[in-house]
């Protein structure tokens, strides 16, 4: 019962942190130099790892799709499968995983170390709000960069898939590319972007919350970092399911509405 109470209290604190940071980011935004540093840290420095992940996933998807579908006469769907999978599911989720591992863990460790070495108290003692100075720039940069990184990852994935399907399995260029404009809809793209936006908020806020609540010296920082990564991965996977259902359902409702009235 005591543990449940603590967990609920921590969840309440976490939700409160999201609102406070969102409020600060809008009402009293941090300085541009702080945001720029985080945009570089989260976005630019994540490009190589996101590129490798997207590219290799696209290649594997193409190889498996071609291998599994060719004996059923469906090999022509390879391009469509790779693109749909990358845009709707794998692009946002894998990018979120990579950003969690590279950026989220570092954020948690940095803020955790600042916490246990009294640097956050030093900020407060100088009348500087740690949420505004430390969390808000990461929040703005994280939510802005995640969709861009996801688009980049998807492009790399499609490129990887194309190279395997066309370059290795000798699929005709047109067979890979032609179905894409017909079957890839705006909704596919928008749902991937919407997911990545939510994942960005989750990664930054969970990592920062765990960092800011770190206790117990160096060992505590290690525990908090591991814990934040595990929570982020779980939150991404669970929220992905609910987002998928909600986005698909809203798309269905909106399509029916537009078909009926326009």
């Amino acid at each position: 019962m005591h543990a449940l109470g603590k967990a609920l209290s921590a969840f309440g604190e976490y939700i409160s942190l999201i609102f406070q940071v969102a409020f600060l980011a809008i009402k009293r935004p941090p300085s541009l130099s702080l945001i720029r540093n985080q945009l570089y840290e989260i976005g630019v420095l994540s490009l190589p790892v996101v590129a490798i992940t997207g590219f290799s996933t696209g290649m594997v998807l193409a190889a498996q799709s071609f291998f599994q579908l060719s004996d059923k006469g469906l090999a022509s769907a390879t391009g469509l499968m790779v693109t749909k999978a990358m845009l709707v599911e794998l692009g946002p989720v894998l990018t979120a995983f990579m950003v969690t591992g590279r950026v989220g863990a570092a954020m948690c460790a940095e803020l955790g170390t600042m916490r246990v070495t009294e640097q956050i108290d030093a900020l407060k003692s100088m009348s500087v709000n740690p949420l505004r100075y430390l969390v808000a720039p990461r929040f703005i940069a994280g939510t802005a960069m995640m969709p861009l990184l996801t688009v980049f990852s998807c492009l790399m994935g499609i490129l990887g898939g194309y190279m395997i399907a066309v370059g290795y399995y000798h699929m005709p260029h047109n067979t890979f590319v032609d179905p894409l404009p017909i079957h890839i809809t705006t909704f596919d793209f928008a749902s991937g972007i919407a997911k990545s936006f939510v994942f960005g908020i989750l990664i930054v806020t969970i990592s920062c919350y765990r960092g800011l609540t770190t206790k117990g010296g160096a060992a505590g920082v290690g525990r908090a970092t591991t814990n934040s990564v595990v929570i982020c991965y779980s939150a991404i996977l669970i929220s992905n399911f609910f987002l998928t259902v909600a986005l698909n359902e809203s798309n269905r409702v909106l399509s029916t509405f537009f078909e009926r009235w326009f």
Binding site: T117, E118, Q119, D121, A122, K124, S125, M126
Partner: protein, 248 residues
């Protein structure tokens, strides 16, 4: 003047402050002595507003900090500064950036003016020439001095020192004590020093206070404090002297 009345603070089931009272006059340096773990640092955290007490009042300039509107509280907080036990320099910034931090956050100064004030503060603590060094490149004593420079650069009216000499060798501790005295002279600030180092207390304090079991048991001017006939206080002195003799 700082007036602390009936201050209570607990962490889970551990009651740390139990109705603590203390008054500090303007420009006075009060040293709070007490064993480790009695809540001396906790008291400083309540005064500067890092934590909120469960009950009680902290009054500065006749205003209760705990009930003031945010802007007014911030105005008073900006005139306060604290030296942390581990110095708490920002790891990601070099010495000059650490020292300039408050100025850049709160004062509208030109880069030239900031540079001038930073150089002056670093000269005062004998750290001229270390501007580009990172905190990880500094020794414990140098870090404490850099943290003092970060304090004095914005000339606070109230300065809180949390165990300023803990973990330092006697010579460095003496340097820090001298620096605190010099800072007091230059800033004419009201100061609270928390320590269990009696030698340091004698050197920097105008008044000494004894913190025991969540309360201030005794407050007296430096010259009268050591003649207070209280078994708890005398036992603290005795243990502290024995400890100093065995670890000079």
């Amino acid at each position: 003047m700082i007036v602390i009345e009936n201050l209570w603070k607990a962490y889970d089931t551990l009651q740390v402050l139990k109705g603590l009272n203390l008054t500090i006059e303007n420009g006075e340096t009060v040293v709070i002595l007490g064993r480790s773990g009695v809540g001396k640092s906790v008291l400083l955290r309540q005064i500067i507003g890092i934590e909120k007490p469960d009950r009680g009042t902290v009054t500065i300039e006749g205003k209760n900090l705990l009930t003031l509107p945010r802007k007014e509280r911030q105005r008073i907080s900006k005139q306060m500064g604290m030296l942390f036990q581990g110095a708490a320099l920002f790891d990601s910034m070099n010495v000059a950036e650490n020292t300039a931090f408050y100025l850049k956050q709160h004062l509208n100064l030109t880069e030239k003016e900031i540079k001038k004030r930073v150089s002056h503060a670093l000269e005062m603590v004998d750290l001229a020439g270390t501007e580009e060094k990172m905190p990880s490149d500094l020794s414990g004593g140098m870090r404490k001095r850099a943290a003092i420079a970060r304090l004095i650069v914005y000339r606070p009216n109230i300065v809180l020192y949390d165990e300023p000499t803990t973990g330092l060798d006697p010579i460095t501790a003496m340097q820090i004590n001298k620096l605190i005295c010099r800072t007091q002279r230059e800033l004419k600030a009201t100061s609270i020093v928390v320590t269990h180092d009696i030698r340091s207390a004698k050197e920097v304090g105008d008044k000494l206070a004894f913190h025991h079991d969540g309360k201030i048991l005794h407050v007296a001017p430096k010259q009268d404090f050591f003649s207070i006939q209280d078994p708890t206080l005398q036992a603290f002195f005795q243990n502290a002297w024995i400890n100093e003799r065995s670890h000079p």
